[in-house]
């Protein structure tokens, strides 16, 4: 089933067409990787889907609902989650509090007013186990190492439990072992979630990707499995020089 | 028609005073993000310095201007060194600290000089009116308008044509990198703060013939000056100038159409709406992210 349908998406920043007529679909439970040189419009595409940036044209449908004009929190409630390139956790909150914020099945005021800050976190104990942070749940997130911060953000995304998760360079700054663990987690996530991943690390892409889209100058350059992409001439030209 | 043209001039005259007070604030806020609530007290210090020079040394306002500038700039420089410099990483706290400094300056002047209102004589040279048809303009107010434009231009030159200005702009854009290139951010900040304070002092000197010189005279001015800076846009000189003209003229026109009190309420409401829809001001600068 087509979970996310992106059709003829456009956005301009002061004359620069950052995304220019992009069209693609994502199936439920799929891991789609976006590749492309710097400035190809990968991160912008994620921004457009999650609502950080408003498109100048085109449509984005989530399970058939048009979401391209919605505010970001509405999209989040419909099931779009996002991990940013720069790890963005709440540095002044503890690990457990970060997770509690991420558990957002009931994002309304009344629900928030009627429960304690960490009421929800007990359910999330398993998630912390999974990313190996359970011993640090009362530590301020700002005191974590870079790798731990990445893990925390991934844990938060798991806790958020979005249908579609957008990941911007999830393995940046990770060691090889950590990257492997991440790949493992992604695989297990894809059972119940759809993932769109922007990534440069080809070995990681090779491990996780069901399908790959290569972008260049805001448009789709190639689409297919990892083998198809690696043998594509256009892709080689785009990466190796114009 | 006569009333309108006279009122437009009155608005321009208010704008020139607002601009001179706001300019120093705009520079300090724009360059360092410091919300200087003691700015009104710098204006007050300028007025008192003028009074002291005139009363004890017989120096008229115009001749006193450079001395006033230096004196108030020196006070500003000291305050920057002692207090403000320690707060650059906590911009909202500068509101509180400078509010405290304002109280200190105000009380120090009251204890040292007294609470009573002081008299400063306006320059003889600029007394009298100029009349063009129905438009009657006080020469002193005309002078203020031209002087404020000159100060604006001078500041613009300083920011764009001198090494100091170049360094300052470099620091505004990226303090870390600028320091790597050997620009002493601390020194530049101190000088900028001193310059902003000096401008406030000059404004204080120039308004003495029109206003009353008392220790609390600055308190009311700082709110208005701040609105000018915010409406104008962060650190934008031309923005501050147009905001001053906008607010001055709006005040003048509203006050003739409604009355002074409701006119002021209307102007404040307009400013609130303006900030809401253009929070980065009339002329946002793209330099600072």
């Amino acid at each position: 089933m087509q979970q996310l349908q992106v059709t003829d998406l456009h956005v301009e920043f002061g004359g620069l067409r950052a995304v220019d007529g992009l069209t693609f679909n994502v199936e439920e439970g799929e891991i789609l990787c976006l590749l492309g040189p710097n400035g190809a419009g990968k991160s912008t595409t994620l921004d457009l889907i999650c609502g950080k940036t408003q498109p100048t044209g085109g449509s984005i449908r989530l399970n058939g609902t048009e979401i391209s004009q919605m505010l970001e929190f509405h999209r989040a409630r419909l099931g779009i989650g996002r991990k940013f390139q720069v790890p963005s956790v709440y540095k002044d909150l503890t690990v457990a509090e970060n997770l509690s914020v991420a558990i957002s099945k009931r994002p309304g005021i009344w629900s928030a007013l009627s429960r304690f800050a960490l009421s929800d976190v007990r359910e999330a104990g398993a998630i912390l186990e999974r990313v190996d942070l359970s011993s640090k749940s009362n530590e301020l997130a700002g005191n974590l190492s870079h790798g731990e911060t990445q893990w925390l953000e991934i844990a938060m995304l798991i806790a958020q439990d979005s249908k579609v998760i957008l990941m911007d360079e999830p393995t940046a700054g990770m060691t090889i072992q950590e990257t492997e663990r991440t790949a493992e987690i992604f695989r297990s996530l894809s059972a119940s979630h759809t993932l769109i991943v922007v990534e440069h690390d080809m070995s990681f892409v090779r491990t996780v990707a069901d399908r790959i889209i290569v972008m260049n100058r805001g448009a789709m350059l190639a689409e297919g499995s990892i083998e198809e992409i690696e043998s594509n001439e256009d892709v080689k030209t785009a990466y190796l020089g114009h | 028609m006569d009333v309108i043209s006279n009122q437009l001039f009155a608005g321009l005259s208010m704008a020139s005073i607002l601009l001179m007070i706001a300019l120093g604030l705009a520079i300090i806020y724009g360059a360092m993000g410091v919300i200087n609530l003691a700015h009104g007290e710098f204006v007050m210090l300028g007025a008192y310095t003028t009074w002291a020079l005139q009363t004890y040394a017989g120096i008229g306002i115009l001749l006193a201007l450079p001395i006033v500038f230096i004196v108030v700039a020196a006070v500003g420089w000291i305050i920057e060194k002692v207090v403000v410099q320690n707060l650059y990483h906590r911009p909202l706290d500068t509101i509180l600290a400078t509010w405290g400094i304002g109280i200190i300056l105000q009380q120090a002047v009251r204890l040292g000089i007294g609470a009573e209102s002081r008299f400063v004589k306006g320059p003889e040279l600029l007394s009298g009116n100029t009349q063009i048809g129905p438009l009657i303009m006080s020469n002193y107010r005309i002078f203020l308008i031209f002087f404020s434009v000159a100060v604006l231009y001078g500041t613009w030159l300083l920011m764009t044509r001198t090494e100091f200005g170049m360094k300052l702009r470099a620091i505004i854009q990226n303090r870390g990198i600028s320091e790597c290139y050997g620009i002493e951010a601390k020194r530049i900040y101190s000088l900028t703060f001193a310059y902003g304070a000096g401008l406030a002092g000059i404004a204080g000197a120039l308004i003495t013939p029109l206003f009353s010189t008392i220790p609390t005279m600055g308190t009311g001015l700082v709110v208005d000056a701040f609105l000018v800076v915010i409406v104008g846009g962060l650190g934008s000189l031309i923005g501050a100038a147009s905001a001053a003209v906008l607010i001055g003229e709006a005040t003048a026109l509203f006050s003739i159409v409604i009355n002074d009190t409701l006119g002021r309420i209307a102007v404040l409401a307009g400013i609130i709406v303006l900030i809401r829809f253009r929070p980065r001001g009339l002329f946002p600068t793209e330099t600072r992210r």
Partner: protein, 368 residues
């Protein structure tokens, strides 16, 4: 349930015991002293209300005095009607011949008590919706609320026939509750104010430890990130503004009863900044600390002005500057840092940078 929550509960209980038993005993149940202290307690509510919006959500509301004033005028209007038979005297002087419509319902005590909470909440909510829908943040919140405050005060002063203008509402009756006429010099009145403060603090402590408070802290740190978790940031900010405004209105009602008049200076810029100062001295992160800050600063002010008639203002200025420079997190910061050092004498603690997020917003202007 966290240990921090337990500490706050303990602090609240100690605080309540001290103001309920300790303070009156130390003052020998003297009417004047209790009245003076009740004044500080009423101001403490205003300060803790600001701590909710400023400390928790990072929204520096410089218009807190406006909502405080609304509560204070609501109570004053009721007491003025009680004191006058027919038209309040000042209306006659202003050539107002009939009781203005908005005054009529204030005959009722129940309406007055509700209005003192709900009108500030409503107005606070309106300004909040106006600002936060447009994602205004940082210093712009401070400036807009400040401009609102100035305009509101001018309006109140200008509507002399309805508000008593510059003089405010004076010549008020004492509040009569069923079976009790509230004498502001009585021990009973002191307990009324102390009780109100304790309830307000309990509400505040609960709010800061609820998930609501957590989301607000998340918003303070990174509003955008919070949106991507599906939270409607503007609604949360509006809610805390309303709550804070209602508490400020509550404080205003009590303040009118303490001083027996309402004045437009309660809505002045300097009063509003004073609330910010109390909150900063106590520590904006904790409602209890903020309340304590208000009490301490006011006591200090009373004491200093008693001893140094000429120089007390100057000394207050110096103290504020020193506090901001050397105690950036207020008394609360000093206490928690000391406690941490006692617990982990060797571990170096990361400097909590409360302003990190507001710095960013200050620079960008909007949380784009």
């Amino acid at each position: 349930m966290t240990s921090k929550f337990h500490y706050d509960l303990i602090a609240l209980v100690i605080f309540a015991i001290v103001i309920a038993f300790g303070v009156p005993a130390l003052m020998n149940y003297d009417g004047f002293e209790l009245n003076t202290f009740a004044r500080y307690l009423a101001l403490a509510i205003a300060s803790m209300a600001l701590a909710l919006s400023w400390g928790t959500a990072g929204l520096l509301n410089l218009g807190q005095a406006a909502t405080f004033g609304m509560g204070s005028y609501a109570m004053a209007m009721h007491l003025k009607l009680r004191a006058s038979d027919g038209l309040p005297d000042f209306m006659g002087w202003n050539n107002v011949s009939e009781l203005p419509l908005i005054w009529v319902p204030f005959e009722s005590l129940a309406f007055t008590l509700l209005a003192g909470l709900l009108i500030p909440a409503f107005i606070g909510g309106l300004t909040a919706v106006f600002m936060f829908r447009a994602r205004i943040a940082g210093v712009f919140v401070a400036i807009i609320t400040l401009a609102f405050l100035v305009a509101f005060q001018l309006l109140v002063i200008n509507q002399q026939g309805m508000t008593g203008g510059q003089n405010g509402l004076t010549g008020l009756a004492q509040l009569s509750l069923p079976g009790w006429t509230v004498d502001p010099y009585s021990t009973g009145f002191y307990y009324l104010v102390a009780g109100c403060l304790t309830v307000a603090l309990a509400i505040g402590v609960y709010l800061t430890h609820s998930k609501f408070g957590l989301i607000l802290r998340a918003i303070r740190e990174d509003a955008d990130r919070t949106r991507f978790f599906g939270y409607n940031v503007a609604t949360y900010q509006t809610a805390i503004f309303c709550l804070s405004a209602a508490l400020a209105g509550w404080a205003g009602m009590l303040y009118t009863m303490v001083l027996e008049f309402a004045s437009p200076t309660y809505m002045g810029v300097s009063f509003s900044l004073a609330i910010v100062i109390w909150c900063a001295v106590g520590g904006r992160e904790s409602v209890i600390a903020a309340a304590l800050g208000a009490i301490i600063v006011n006591m200090l002010e009373g004491r200093l002005s008693d001893v140094f008639v000429e120089g007390w203002h100057l000394m207050l200025g110096v103290i504020f500057v020193l506090v901001v420079m050397f105690m950036p997190r207020g008394i609360y910061g000093v206490i928690t840092e000391t406690a941490k050092r006692l617990h982990h004498p060797k571990r170096r603690h990361r400097k909590t940078d409360l302003q990190s997020s507001s710095t960013k917003q200050l620079e960008t202007g909007q949380e784009s």
